[in-house]
Symmetry: C2
Subunit: 412 residues, 2 copies
C-alpha cells in the first residue's frame, strides 16, 4: 500500500477545508478585538499559530496602528515581553441604517462602540440622491462635532430596506424603494468620502450586528425580523448568506399550511406576512374591537396584559414557528434570534415559536438549538453596518499585507 505523506503538517489533517489556516489568522483579530492585552507568546498559544507567524501579523497591525503596545508582562527573566492590545480608537466608522420612513447615522470606533449618532424621519421613496446626501451631510456633521475634529474614517457601512447586490453595492429591484434600482450607492457616497463603502440589506446587517456583538463565534445563526414585514438574515458557515441576487432570507412570502384563505399583497395566498405581518395583526385586533393601527399598538396591548392581544401574538409565534421549523431542517442553525417590533411583546411570541419548532423540526437539529429574543434590538442595524466595515478593513489590510510580504519574499 502506498503511504506517501504530503508536505502538510498533521494538524491540518481533516481540518475541513483549505481556509482553516486563514481562519486561524482571522481568529487572531477576533481575539485582539476583545481589548484584552496579550503577549505574542500568549497569542501563539491560544491560536496554535507559529510564533514567527504571530510576529509577522503583529508587526503589520502595529504598523497600521490597529494595535498598540500596552504595559509590561511578568517575565521569567531577561527582557520582559510586551503585551499588545487592539486599538479601537485608531479609526472611526460611519454606519447608517436606513428604513422605509426613518434613518440613523452613527460614528463608531473599530470595536463597534457608538461614539455619536443622529436619527431622523425620512422617506426612502424620496430617492437615492436625497437620502444619501442626508447620510453624507449627517456623517460630516458628526465627524466635525467629534472630539479631535478630523478622525480617520475606515469606511462606510449602510443598510437599506430591500435586496442589495452586495459586491457592487447596488439595490436590485427593491419593492418599496422607487428610483433606487441599480443605483451606485458606493459611487455616490465616495464623492464625499474616498473610503470603502459596503452596502447590504437591513435584515442582513441586523443579523451581522447581533451575531458579532452578542454571539461571536456562532457560525450558524438565523436572525428573524418580525415587524411590518417579515425577513431573515442568514449567517451560515460564518458568512452572511445573500443568495444569487441578494434576495436570500425572504420568509414573508413562504406559504403557511392551512392559511390559503389569506390573500397577500404579492398576489399569492397563505403567505406568512399576510397572516402575521404588522398590518395583519393590527387588522385582526380591530376586528375584535380593539384600537390598533400598527404592530406597535398590538405590542402595547399585549404588554398591557390584554388577553386577546397575547393570544394573537402567541398564535403569530406558532405560524412563524411553522416556517422556522422548515428553516431549522434546511439550515441547522445553532441560534435563532427574533428581532423587530413584534419581538418587543416579550416571551409570548417566543413561546409560540418554540412550541412549533420543537414539535416539527428534527431532534438532531433542535438538540442544541437556542431560540432567543434579540439583545441588540434597535441598535442591531447600526452595529452590523459598523462591523461589516471593520471586518472588511481588517481582513483586507491583513490579506494585502500577507500578499505583499509573500511577493516581496518571492522576489528575493
Amino acid at each position: 500500500m502506498s503511504v506517501i505523506p504530503l508536505p502538510l503538517p498533521i494538524r491540518s489533517v481533516a481540518a475541513g477545508n483549505g481556509s482553516a489556516v486563514f481562519s486561524q489568522a482571522a481568529d487572531l483579530f477576533q481575539l485582539l478585538r476583545d481589548g484584552e492585552p496579550r503577549t505574542r507568546a500568549e497569542l501563539a498559544a491560544i491560536t496554535g499559530l507559529a510564533r514567527s507567524t504571530i510576529a509577522a501579523r503583529v508587526e503589520t497591525l502595529l504598523a497600521a496602528d490597529l494595535i498598540s503596545p500596552v504595559g509590561e508582562a511578568a517575565s521569567s527573566g531577561g527582557r520582559p515581553p510586551s503585551r499588545i492590545a487592539f486599538n479601537p480608537a485608531a479609526r472611526v466608522v460611519i454606519a447608517a441604517d436606513i428604513g422605509a420612513s426613518h434613518g440613523v447615522v452613527a460614528l463608531t470606533d473599530l470595536a463597534g462602540t457608538v461614539l455619536a449618532s443622529t436619527t431622523a424621519d425620512l422617506s426612502i421613496a424620496d430617492g437615492p440622491e436625497t437620502v444619501l446626501a442626508w447620510v453624507a451631510a449627517t456623517a460630516g456633521k458628526l465627524l466635525a462635532d467629534t472630539a479631535g475634529g478630523a478622525p480617520d474614517v475606515a469606511g462606510i457601512g449602510i443598510g437599506l430596506p430591500g435586496p442589495v447586490e452586495h459586491t457592487t453595492g447596488r439595490p436590485t429591484n427593491p419593492p418599496i424603494m422607487p428610483g433606487w434600482d441599480g443605483f451606485d450607492v458606493p459611487g455616490f457616497l465616495q464623492r464625499s468620502f474616498l473610503v470603502p463603502v459596503l452596502v447590504d440589506n437591513d435584515v442582513n446587517i441586523m443579523a451581522l450586528g447581533e451575531q458579532s456583538t452578542q454571539w461571536p463565534g456562532d457560525d450558524n445563526l438565523l436572525f428573524v425580523k418580525v415587524a411590518t414585514g417579515i425577513g431573515a438574515g442568514i449567517i451560515g458557515g460564518g458568512q452572511l448568506q445573500r443568495g444569487a441576487v441578494g434576495a436570500a432570507g425572504d420568509l414573508g412570502h413562504v406559504r403557511v399550511p392551512n392559511a390559503d384563505h389569506v390573500i397577500c399583497r404579492c398576489g399569492n395566498t397563505g403567505c406568512l406576512e399576510a397572516l402575521v405581518g404588522g398590518p395583519a395583526l393590527a387588522a385582526q385586533m380591530r376586528e375584535l374591537g380593539f384600537e390598533a393601527r400598527s404592530v406597535r399598538d398590538v405590542v402595547a396591548l399585549a404588554r398591557g396584559g390584554n388577553g386577546t392581544a397575547i393570544a394573537a401574538v402567541r398564535q403569530a409565534g406558532r405560524d412563524i414557528g411553522t416556517v422556522l421549523a422548515t428553516c431549522v431542517n434546511l439550515l441547522n442553525p445553532s441560534t435563532i434570534v427574533i428581532g423587530g417590533a413584534l419581538a418587543e411583546s416579550g416571551e409570548h411570541l417566543l413561546a409560540g415559536i418554540r412550541e412549533v419548532v420543537y414539535q416539527r423540526s428534527l431532534p438532531l437539529s433542535t438538540a442544541r438549538l437556542r431560540i432567543v429574543a434579540s439583545r441588540a434590538m434597535e441598535s442591531a442595524g447600526i452595529l452590523g453596518a459598523a462591523m461589516m466595515v471593520v471586518q472588511h478593513v481588517l481582513g483586507a489590510a491583513m490579506i494585502e499585507a500577507t500578499l505583499a510580504q509573500a511577493t516581496a519574499s518571492a522576489q528575493h
Copy 2:
C-alpha cells in the same frame, strides 16, 4: 469633511469582504484546473492579480509539481515566455461513496477524472470497522493495480449516508448507521494511509461533485436527491453549508401543506418524504394495481409510458416543488439540481417542480433561476468526494506556502 484614504488599493473598495483577494488566488487554480496552458502574463491579465503575485504563486505550484511548464508561447521578441498548465497526474485521490447497501471506491487524478473504481454490495449496518476496512483494502488494491504501482496519494474523500461533523470527520447520530455515532473515520483510515481524510454526508458530496464539475463558478446551488429518502446539499456563497451539527439540508421531514393525513416514520405527519419518498410512491402504485417494489420500479413504469406512473411522478414533483419554493425564498439559489433515482424518470418530475416553484416563489428570486436534472448522476458522489480532497489539498498547500513566505519575509 474628513477624507483620509486608507492604505488599500481602490480596486478593493466595495469588494464585498476581506476574502476577495484570496478568492482571486483561488481563482488562479480554478483557471489552471481547466488544463489550458497559459503564460504568467495571461494569468495576471485574467485574474487581475499583480504579476509579482502570480510569479510567487506559480513558483509554489511548480515546486509542488502541481503545475508543469508546457511548450512555448508566441512572443514579441526576446526570450519566449513559457506556458504553464495544471498537472492533474501529479497525485491520485482516493474517493469513496458509501450508501446504505452499496459502496464505490475510486482513484481519481487531481482533475477528478476517475482512473479506476470498484463497486460492491455492503451493509452500512455492519459498522465502521468492517465497512472502512473494505474501503482501505479496495483502495490499496486499486493503487497496486494502477499503472506505475505506487502513485502519490493526495488524500481520501468519503461520503456517508448520514449527518457528519465535517471538522472532525465523525458521524453524528446517523439514523441508519448503527455503531457509527462519533466514530473517528479519519483516524481509522489513517492507520492505512497517512494522508488528509475528509468526510461528509453523501448528499453534500453529490452537491459538490455536481457543482465543481458541471456548474463551476455557481456559488449558490441547491442539489436535491430524491430517492428512498429526500435530502439536499446546499452550496451558499461558494461554500458547502453544513449547519451547526452537519444536519443541514434535511428536506425529507419538512411539512407539506394539505398532507397531514400522511404519517411519517419520524413520528410527525405531513412530511415530504412520507408523501413522495420512494417507498411511498411504490406503495401508491401498488394500491392502484401496478407492480412496484421500489422507486426504481416506479421510474421504469413512467419511462415505459404508464400514464398512472407519470401522473404520480408529476404530482411528486409538485409536492417537492412546494418545499423547494420555500428554499428558493430562503436561499435564493441560482441553480437547483435534481438528482437521485426518481430524477431518472425524466422531465415529468422537473415539470411538476417547476410548476410550483415558479408559482410560489418571489419573481426576483426566480428571474434567473435554473431548475435542471443532475448531469453527473451516479458519479456525482465520487466526483464530489474527490473534489473535496483536491480543494483541501490545493487550498491548504497554497495558504501554508503564503504564510511561510510571509513569515520568512518578516524575519529578514
